[in-house]
């Protein structure tokens, strides 16, 4: 369903993603784990047409997202790392906006929105403005929205960040159900190891832009001789803390540092 071959993305001299290759099978739930700044989000951005790869080949459901942007976009849904709802619109209006932008036929639109809002337990609040929603409700709405156009693949970039355990648990239950009933392939990133262990059939660990291990949670533990996925993860990626160059100022400082060398 997803095929990545020798994918590379360079920002100046920095290789955020450095020659990675992997495959995600149809109907699989695949977790992408890595410390901050390892290249997870950069990879997702390239897979979802938001960023051009420097080198390498991509395939989503048989389409190259770098070449056939518009077509490829119909085949996946995405829940971004940070919020992407219109807070001034209601839940229903956010869904409707998405349905129209993804060319859902009018007849299917209402029915599918209703089904998903009910499934994600937002039906009663459908006419409330999103700004009145809790963090967990916003997340659920974003996932429901990502599934609205019956995508073949769903990308979830740290979807449980900042949620309480109840919301996280409930969210994964819903995602798993959609994975089973609609055969959606799920590509997810998370910092919660127990989540990856619970929902993902296979896990890839990425660090410094390279994949350091790939396999089931059992395989990763066996390979590193550790008892838990958390320990396996630390064994693979080390214990030092990473600086994340996320905001523009930090990026500028890093850039300046690079020049001075």
């Amino acid at each position: 369903m997803i095929r990545v071959e020798h994918l590379t993305k360079k920002f100046g001299n920095l290789a955020a993603v450095n020659d990675i290759s992997f495959e995600v099978r149809q109907g699989e739930m695949f977790a992408f784990l890595g410390p901050n700044g390892a290249g997870k989000t950069t990879t997702i951005r390239m897979l979802t047409t938001l960023l051009e790869p420097t080198a390498g080949k991509l395939q989503l459901n048989g389409l190259d997202p770098a070449l056939h942007k518009q077509e490829a976009r119909k085949h996946f849904g995405i829940v971004f790392q940070d919020a992407s709802l219109d807070q001034e619109l209601t839940a229903w209006e956010n869904m409707e906006y998405h349905a129209v932008m993804y060319h859902l036929p009018r007849a299917v639109r209402r029915q599918r929105i209703e089904m998903l809002l009910k499934l994600f337990e937002l039906w009663e609040r459908r006419n409330d403005l999103v700004k009145k929603f809790s963090g967990g409700m916003k997340r659920r709405l974003e996932i429901a929205r990502g599934l609205l156009h019956t995508p073949k693949i769903l990308f979830l970039d740290e979807p449980t960040l900042g949620l309480d355990p109840q919301s996280r648990n409930q969210m994964w239950t819903h995602v798993k159900r959609m994975n089973e009933t609609e055969q959606v392939t799920v590509f997810l990133t998370t910092h919660y190891m127990e989540e990856a262990e619970r929902v993902a059939q296979r896990i890839a660990v990425i660090d410094h832009g390279q994949i350091v291990a790939i396999g089931s949670s059992e395989e990763l533990k066996a390979r590193t001789g550790t008892a838990s996925l958390e320990e396996a993860f630390l064994a693979l990626t080390g214990t030092s803390i990473r600086d994340e160059a996320a905001d523009p100022m930090a990026r500028m400082r890093n850039f300046a540092r690079m020049w001075r060398r």
Binding site: T48, L50, K74, F80, D82, A83, S84, L85, L89, M101
Partner: protein
């Protein structure tokens, strides 16, 4: 087509829902209208120029359209900050349709604001030349709206934070308003000021509005129309190009 419609509808919904912002954005121009309209009236009349309220009303209407249009273009920045821009840009809709839908929405909102301002001017004592004046007036309002939405999108596509927005408001939008001749006649100006007014696109918008609404002005209607259309087309191209290059 549907995508353009839903983008347009979204702009309208956001506009009609934020009542406080709607009132706040009309309060300042109404203050200008009342303080200047009545305050400078006697001097203006003594100088033999007629009623200042008649003169300044088209200028203030132009100001309202300018501010609303620029604001809705630059509101891209809010969409970026609240993440909604990503949702829109990752949809299977060509960038150009997104830009067109948004701009149409923004221009419509600016027109509505302008119409509210006309009503405020009428209440303050402004009297247009006649009912026939309005269609041409609307045409000029629409052109001002289009031109500055396009400029707003061109600028908003590159803005990353709120500081940038403040800079644009004080160093671009205010000068465009002040040098446009919205508040003063363009005859017998010092050369530097006249030159600034000549390169300010709003000058032709306000002048066109004046021609339409009170039947007086500095340039010919054809000149006003030609300049506004030409600059709008150019800015729409720049805006579309800048918008097509946004990365999120």
């Amino acid at each position: 087509m549907d995508a353009i419609y839903i983008l347009w509808l979204r702009e309208l919904k956001r506009y009609t829902r934020s009542r406080s912002q709607l009132i706040a954005s009309l309060a300042q121009p109404i203050l200008y209208l009342l303080a200047l309209g009545f305050g400078l009236g006697p001097v203006f009349r003594k100088a033999g120029e007629g009623s200042y309220m008649q003169f300044v009303s088209p200028g203030i209407i132009g100001m309202v359209v300018l501010f609303a249009a620029m604001f809705s273009g630059i509101a891209l920045l809010w969409d970026r900050q609240f993440g909604f821009l990503k949702e829109t840009l990752v949809a299977p809709v060509p960038r150009l349709s997104i830009m067109v839908g948004r701009s149409l929405g923004g221009a419509t909102v600016a027109m509505l604001q302008g119409i509210l301002m006309i009503v405020a001017c009428l209440i303050a004592g402004f009297r247009p030349a006649g009912p026939a004046a309005l269609p041409l007036g609307f045409l000029f309002m629409a052109l001002i709206a289009t031109l500055f939405v396009a400029l707003g999108v061109a600028i908003g596509s590159g803005l990353q934070d709120m500081q940038g927005f403040q800079l644009i408001m004080s160093f671009l939008v205010m000068p465009i308003f002040l040098f446009s001749g919205a508040l003063f006649p363009l005859d017998h100006l010092p050369r530097a000021l006249a030159a600034l007014a000549d390169v300010d696109p709003l000058t032709y918008g306000v002048d066109g509005l004046r021609r339409a609404l009170i039947g007086a002005g500095h340039f010919a209607v054809a000149t006003d129309l030609a300049v506004l259309v030409a600059v709008s087309v150019a800015l729409l191209c720049v805006g579309a190009w800048r918008f097509s290059r946004i990365e999120v």
